[in-house]
Amino acid sequence: MTDFGKLLETLTSASVEFIIIGGFAATAHGSAHVTVDLDVVYQRTPENVERLASALEPLAPYLRGAPPGLPFRFNAETITRGLNFTLTTTAGDLDLLGEATGGGTYEGLLPRSEIRELLGLECRFVNLATLIHLKRSAGRPKDFERIAELEAIQQEQKSSE
C-alpha cells in the first residue's frame, strides 16, 4: 500500500516543487473515492529535477510494470530526457508528470493551485475547478463517475457559501 505521508515528506523535505493532481487531490477536495497512487506535476527546471532525483533515490524508484533487471537509473539525466514517469518505489506508487493532459506544465498549473496543510506538511494541490478540467481533458471513460462527484462537490461548496 502506498505510504502517501512518506512520499510527500520525501518531496517536501527536499524542497521539490510539485503540484498534486489526480485521485489524491480529489480526496483532498472532498471525494469519497480511494486512490492507490500519488500523481504529481513537477517543475522541470534543472535545479528542481536534481532535487527530485536526489530525494527519490533512497526510495529506489523503478518503472512500474516493467520487467525487473532493466538498466533503469532514475537520475536527473533520465528525468530530463523523459517527461512523464509511472514509478513504483519502496513507499508505493508515484506518477511523476512533467506535463498533464489538458493542464500543461507546473508553471501552467501554478496559478490554478492552492497550498493545503496535510499530515503536518504544506503541500500544493491543483484547485477543484482545474482538477475537473484535467479529468475532462483526459477523456477516459473511467473518469466519468469521478468528474460527476467532483462537480457535485463544487455544487455543494457553492450552495454552502
Binding site: 471525494s31 480511494v34 496543510e117 503536518g120 468528474i147 460527476a148 457535485a152
Partner: protein, 66 residues
C-alpha cells in the same frame, strides 16, 4: 451545426450529458460529511479505507478453499 447537434455533444466547458447521468447517483451525504473535515482528516479517512480494503483482501486469500 444545428441546435440539436450542439446539445448532444460533450462540451469540455459545459455540461456533459454522460457526467450529468452519473451525477444523479453521487452520494451527496458522503460529500457533505467530507466537506466538514480538514484536508488531513479527509486523507486519513481515505488511508483508513485503503487499509481496511487491504485487510479484507488478505483475509479472502486466507479463507479460500484449497
Amino acid at each position: 451545426m444545428n441546435r440539436t447537434d450542439q446539445d448532444s455533444l460533450p462540451d469540455a466547458f459545459g455540461r456533459d450529458p454522460v457526467v450529468e447521468a452519473y451525477k444523479k447517483d453521487v452520494d451527496r451525504t458522503l460529500i457533505r460529511e467530507n466537506l466538514k473535515l480538514t484536508t488531513s482528516e479527509r486523507i486519513e479517512k481515505m488511508i483508513a479505507a485503503l487499509r481496511f480494503a487491504e485487510a479484507v483482501r488478505h483475509s479472502r486469500v486466507k479463507d479460500s478453499p484449497r
